[in-house]
């Protein structure tokens, strides 16, 4: 009798204890979040951080096929400023005929610094002119630029006004896809533009912004586009940007809001230099250089009226 009582009690106790423990352990802790069914997204990308601006010198050489890229004259000169903290960026074009003191000695058109001392001389010359310190430079040639655009499948450009290129191509106002040759003509045309060298420099900036817009669009659609752009870029430019830094810059570019990117050209006037050559005189102090040197960007409202881009 006692044994039966003991056995029954033990069985009951075991069942109660077991079920109780099981119930305790299969019930999530109070307050523990339960993962909900649905969609979720996460991304982590190395981007520039901090409040210190970064400056990159973008150069286009007119070296033809067979000539070393750093022996040509600089046809395109742009300061790219990026302010990571504010997410703003600015391009400042410097007309190639700007008559300035060269780091290699003497005073001449700024484009002449390149054949005298290569990209290093261009970096030093623009640094002393604009009061900025460059982290990197990027240099390409006519051929490299053309191949680059073709490798990307052309560039979607919003042409601000109709004009005829120096090789006779008619550029109609509005959005269109330019191949490498057309994009090069768009970037080089000067004489048919109202403000000559200034408008040309502005158009070069437009191509760069178009490239940024296209990169962002393609990267959002397919992150692997990053490598296509990096490969095409590195094959057709000379730069001192290490590959891993290039990715940091590219991820940063992918996140920059285009509304926070300003395309500007330095203030200045077209004049006549020694021997009657056509030159561009830059004022000193130069409000555009002072503005970008301060924090890496310029707000559109701070660009003098006469220097604001057409359209």
């Amino acid at each position: 009798m006692i044994r039966r009582t003991v056995a029954a009690a033990a069985s009951f106790a075991a069942i109660v204890a077991g079920l109780g423990l099981a119930a305790l352990q299969t019930t999530p802790a109070v307050g523990a979040p339960i993962f909900e069914i649905g969609k979720a997204h996460a991304e982590a990308e190395p981007t520039l951080t901090g409040s210190k601006p970064i400056f990159i010198l973008l150069l286009g050489s007119d070296a033809r096929t067979g000539t070393p890229v750093d022996k040509g004259l600089c046809d395109s000169i742009h300061i790219l400023g990026i302010n990571p903290a504010s997410g703003r960026a600015t391009l400042v074009g410097i007309p190639r005929d700007s008559y300035v003191s060269l780091s290699t000695g003497g005073t001449n058109k700024i484009k002449a610094a390149m054949p005298q001392g290569g990209p290093r001389a261009m970096v030093d010359t623009v640094e002393q002119l604009a009061g900025v310190r460059f982290s990197y430079y990027v240099l390409t040639s006519f051929d490299g630029f053309t191949r680059l655009i073709n490798a990307l499948g052309g560039l979607e450009v919003d042409v601000p006004y109709s004009f005829t290129g120096h090789l006779g191509t008619g550029f109609s106002q509005g959005g269109q896809t330019l191949d490498g040759a057309s994009a090069l003509e768009f970037a080089r045309t000067r004489k048919t533009l109202v403000h000559g060298d200034f408008d040309r420099s502005m158009n070069q900036g437009r191509l760069m912004l178009a490239a940024l817009m296209q990169f962002r669009k393609e990267f959002q659609r397919d992150p692997a586009a990053m490598f296509r752009w990096a490969g095409a870029g590195m094959r057709n430019v000379e730069t001192d940007i290490p590959l891993r830094e290039l990715f940091t810059l590219a991820f940063t570019a992918s996140q920059i809001n285009l509304k926070k990117v300003t395309n500007a050209v330095t203030v200045g006037t077209i004049g006549t230099g020694p021997g009657g050559i056509s030159i561009v005189d830059l004022p000193s102090p130069n409000p555009i250089f002072e503005d970008i040197a301060k924090d890496g960007y310029i707000l559109p409202k701070d660009i003098p009226e006469e220097n604001r881009p057409a359209n």
């Binding site: 099981a22 299969t26 993962f35 069914i37 969609k39 996460a42 190395p46 094959r235 590959l243 990715f247």
Partner: protein
Amino acid sequence: MALDPSAGEPARHSRTERADEAARRRSKTRRRVAAAVGVVALAGVAAFLLLGGDVPGVDEGPKGPSQYTFDLKNVKATPTSETPPGQLEDVARSAATGVEATMDQLYFVAYVDTDSWGDYGGLSDLFIGRAAAQLETDTDVLTLGANANDVYDSLDAPPGTLRVIVLTDAKDAPASAVALVRFQADTTRKQGSPTRILSTGSFFLHPVDGEWRVYAYRVDRDEEPRSTSSPTGSPS
């Protein structure tokens, strides 16, 4: 016959002693019963835990496979030199093998390995830089979830698909890679409801000391109720 008051004492004592003896026996029996109940209860709990109990956090949880392997669908080289991509196929394939090993390990720990559910410390070695710093924040997107043990009973994952693009440097050595991932798994939740998880994304990797490590990612995780009559394919 006169009654000797003292004569009756032994008899009275005897009744008291018998009563006390009976009480002691009852008490002893109760103690024995209580002890037996305790021992058997403990044995019952132990047997429940060892033999049939489904108690995550105490037992080893559901048993899963010991590894996970993606199906490497496509490998492509993107040169930064003038070397034609076709000449870099071997370089790219070799790099892709390393990338695949990292991705296999990542998804094994993140989803397939039941021992890792809820504790994904094994992932930290696979990430570097910003991606490593953000790993904890993104746990519920990159993995089965921080509370996976509370939520899921089982997970069945057939091989996912992997595409790898390898960027080579100026010397044609692998410099970076992007792994495009599609991972799908069928789960059973503890409430018994079946779901299907789809994890798709891009992982950017650099070689670090001979291993490929994730330095950036863009990942989407989607989980939807699943009809039990729609298998995902071969079970893992």
